[in-house]
Symmetry: C2
Subunit: 207 residues, 2 copies
DNA sequence: TTGGAAAATTAACAGTGTTAAGTATATTTG
DNA sequence: CAAATATACTTAACACTGTTAATTTTCCAA
């Protein structure tokens, strides 16, 4: 059965190659520019070969989407080294922001596109796992006297909303658009960070 | 010069017809499905005629985007009837949420798409105007003793982030996804509204 | 060596935005 | 009034997109 395994291995390899090529194109040129034909050209196969390994483009989007969550999860690992719960929550926000800024195509795919989610039907494990981490941090904060009058999950949802909104506005350029032309917050060097700090300041008062 | 004016009128009419057709398709079938060819078929002209009235598809997107802001602004008018500043701010949030829910294609175009903004270069008047309304509401709240330790504009940005994030998560189905499968907030009939109320509760504590 | 399965390809369909070139239809001018 | 010109619109085409059916190539086992 050695040969059969090798074939299977090869099949897995090609599937991975496709994903790698897609990832490369995706990071360099964004989602729109990542076409099946370009991926095929990258790995030097015909476009239709892709369909032997992925059902359709949404399946590739979903795979990329999962790569994104892996990356985010790896960035979150440093949070384990932060003892103070509120400091950890703050750090979590900062990591989330940095991830969104540095990988805005991934961020877009993970949270603002519908394509990858049509694959997942109704069991979005990656997202749920990341959310759990937030809820755990919030619970730890509650142990330390923060947000005690709130339900941990509802409060987590509120935090996620704020962070997601802020990152999305930043990525789409709306933060800069509004501040620059309305001659608002001109003295603030970075509206993105400044808004985050305003948010943190409100949270700090809730203990 | 009567004839020349009539011709100009006709030209404006056709431009409006194109926009109306685009709007109709857009509302019924969403952004992706609103193609130049379908718009052309709707008004019974050839696709290339569209280009005599709009530079490209982004220009049509921008026109639709402006229609969206007009609609939102009209929804905001009822706020004038609310005296209490904090009540007005809450109502503003609710109107924003309702607008996002009922016109999610418009919302997408107004805040999550880049196409319409390439037209606007760096003077996004509609967005800036809506933001001013928020800042004014926040200032009124400050007069009433709320958020006094914050900068009105920075605080407004925080509020917008939260509302935008919440609406975006809702529209993309992420709220439901997370709560349903994590067996979280199951007792809450509407997570969207519930998260908003959690947000309002935090704001209420900042006076 | 040959038969058959698996893997990859070619060709095609139906669609997209967009442009250049051509054709009617008015309007202005000689 | 007829010819020249400007305006409005269309046809045909280009270069793409995702996706499928039919076909060819490759490779392993009998």
């Amino acid at each position: 059965m050695g040969i059969k395994e090798r074939k299977l291995k090869h099949k897995e390899d090609l599937k991975q190659s496709i994903l790698d090529a897609a990832k490369k194109l995706f990071i360099k040129e964004g989602y729109e520019a990542t076409s099946i034909r370009k991926i095929a050209a990258e790995i030097e196969f015909s476009p239709t070969t892709i369909y032997l390994y992925y059902k359709d483009k949404a399946a590739i989007s979903h795979a990329l989407h999962q790569e994104g969550f892996k990356l985010l999860a790896s960035q979150f690992t440093i949070l384990n080294y932060i003892e103070n719960p509120f400091e950890r929550l703050k750090a979590m926000g900062r990591v989330y922001m940095q991830f969104a800024l540095e990988n805005n195509d991934f961020y877009e795919l993970m949270f603002n596109r519908e394509e990858p989610l049509v694959c997942v039907e109704d069991h979005w494990e990656e997202g749920e796992q990341a959310f759990s981490l937030l809820v755990m941090s919030v619970r730890a904060c509650q142990q330390a006297g923060y947000f005690t009058q709130f339900d941990a999950e509802a409060f987590s949802m509120f935090i996620w909303s704020t962070m997601h909104g802020l990152c999305t506005l930043k990525i789409k350029g709306h933060l800069e658009h509004v501040t620059r032309n309305k001659m608002i917050l001109q003295n603030v060097p970075d509206v993105f960070t400044h808004t985050f700090e305003t948010f943190i300041a409100t949270l700090e008062k809730l203990r």
